[in-house]
């Protein structure tokens, strides 16, 4: 072991290297590491947040779906009720209308019947009179036949 100026040279070199490392190497690397750490932390937090939001959205969606289903059920039941009402109304109206038509028809029929009766009665009287005339012509027993004619007329 013989010492010489290499000792001093080494010390100076060492100091310069350490200075350089301290000035130009260490800080930027540490800064980058620090920033990356922050970024990773941020990313993880964002992921967590996203997961949370997804959960919320899913809940919200379920709620909305539920509400929509309820509303739909309500609408359907209302529609059914309304439909039933309409059918009922229509039925009533139809019954009423039918009644009206029936009454009118009955009236018309009665009138027709009466008219036919009148006509018939007239014709019967004519026939009876004609018949009576013919009988009178043949038998001349008006009194005997009168009762017969009355009977005939009453039967009609």
């Amino acid at each position: 072991m013989n010492f010489n100026a290499t000792l001093i040279g080494q010390s100076i070199t060492f100091i310069i290297f350490v200075w350089f490392c301290m000035r130009f190497v260490w800080p930027p690397i540490m800064l980058a590491l620090q920033q990356r750490k922050e970024r990773v932390a941020e990313g993880l937090a964002a992921g967590e947040r996203g997961k949370h939001e997804l959960e919320l959205a899913r809940k919200k969606a379920l709620e909305t779906l539920h509400e929509a289903k309820q509303q739909a059920a309500e609408v359907i039941s209302r529609a059914e009720k309304r439909g039933a009402e309409i059918v009922e109304e229509a039925k009533n109206e139809a019954v009423e209308e039918g009644g009206r038509v029936k009454a009118a028809a009955l009236v018309a029929i009665e009138q027709e019947v009466n008219r036919a009766k009148e006509t018939l009665r007239g014709q019967v009287v004519e026939i009876a009179t004609a018949g009576a005339g013919r009988i009178l012509k043949r038998e001349l027993d008006a009194t005997a036949n009168d009762e017969l004619i009355k009977d005939l007329v009453a039967q009609i």
Partner: protein, 280 residues
């Protein structure tokens, strides 16, 4: 190799001699041709190989890390940036674990020490003869590739760390506080001289243990590589055994070079932490 060494002793000595530039005994400046000549040059000589390799590796370290630092983004990192960030985080964690105070110097210091020493040590894994042989082709007589097997290098670092320790001790505890820490414990005040002696030894042992541990490990490791390399000169069986041994030792050495770099770094952090802590 300048003059092909013949004996084993010469081979070993040749491999353990630095390429030293200094003033020869006769007054002219030049490279030393032997360990003896290098020693004769006294203090004002310089181990060119140690300086070149350590500075080269240090510059490589800073350049490559600076590249990663400049392009560092918060996006998905590339392979190199990923590696650098991994190393930096590892160092940062070590510093956080051992250093309780707040000092922007400690972490970069630890990073520099760890990577630089690791790279210097890793030169040990290159087969011992390759680079000296290449240097020999270029006419350079001696070349010691592993700078950390040169005590000048390890002491250069550990003394700088020691200076930092002294600096922070005085700065944070004050001159009196620092002196008090040395003189008034572990025994009562009236035994101050004994305390001073004990604590003085503790204090001095910090840079010594730092540098001698690293130097000793790397020097011994290098020595074993050289001894194994010697076996290639024997029979084929010896050479084959040597190859096997070299492989085994190199694999084991990967652990040692990392461990030594880590220990140097951790102890530096711990010493600086002790210097920064106030005792009451």
């Amino acid at each position: 190799m300048s003059a092909a060494p013949e004996t084993s002793a010469e081979y070993i000595e040749h491999h353990l001699t630095n390429l030293t530039y200094g003033q020869h005994a006769d007054g002219h400046w030049g490279f030393a041709h032997s360990a003896g000549e290098a020693a004769d040059m006294g203090f004002w000589a310089i181990n060119v190989d140690s300086m070149l390799f350590s500075i080269g590796l240090g510059v490589l370290f800073l350049w490559s890390f600076r590249k990663a630092a400049r392009t560092a983004t918060t996006d998905v990192p590339g392979a190199w940036q990923n590696f650098v960030e991994w190393v930096v985080e590892f160092i940062d964690e070590s510093v956080r674990g051992s250093f309780s105070g707040k000092n922007p110097l400690v972490a970069p210091l630890a990073l520099t020490i760890f990577i630089w020493i690791f790279m210097i040590n890793a030169m040990d894994l290159i087969a011992v003869d390759w680079l000296p042989w290449l240097a020999g082709l270029m006419g350079v007589g001696h070349l010691k590739v592993v700078s950390s097997a040169d005590p000048n290098v390890t002491f250069g670092m550990s003394l700088t760390v020691f200076a930092l320790v002294l600096n922070y001790s005085v700065k944070i505890k004050g001159l009196g506080g620092f002196f008090g820490e040395l003189a008034f414990q572990p025994f009562p005040k009236w035994m101050a001289p004994i305390n001073l002696l004990l604590e003085g030894v503790t204090l001095i042992s910090k840079p010594l243990s730092l540098s001698l541990r690293l130097f000793g490990n790397m020097y011994a490791g290098e020595m074993i590589f050289i001894l194994i390399a010697l076996m290639y000169g024997g029979s084929i069986a010896m050479g084959a055994l040597g190859g096997l041994l070299q492989l085994g030792w190199a694999i084991f050495h990967i652990l040692i070079i990392t461990l030594q770099a880590f220990i140097f770094m951790t102890l530096t952090i711990v010493y600086l932490d002790m210097a920064s802590q106030e005792h009451h």
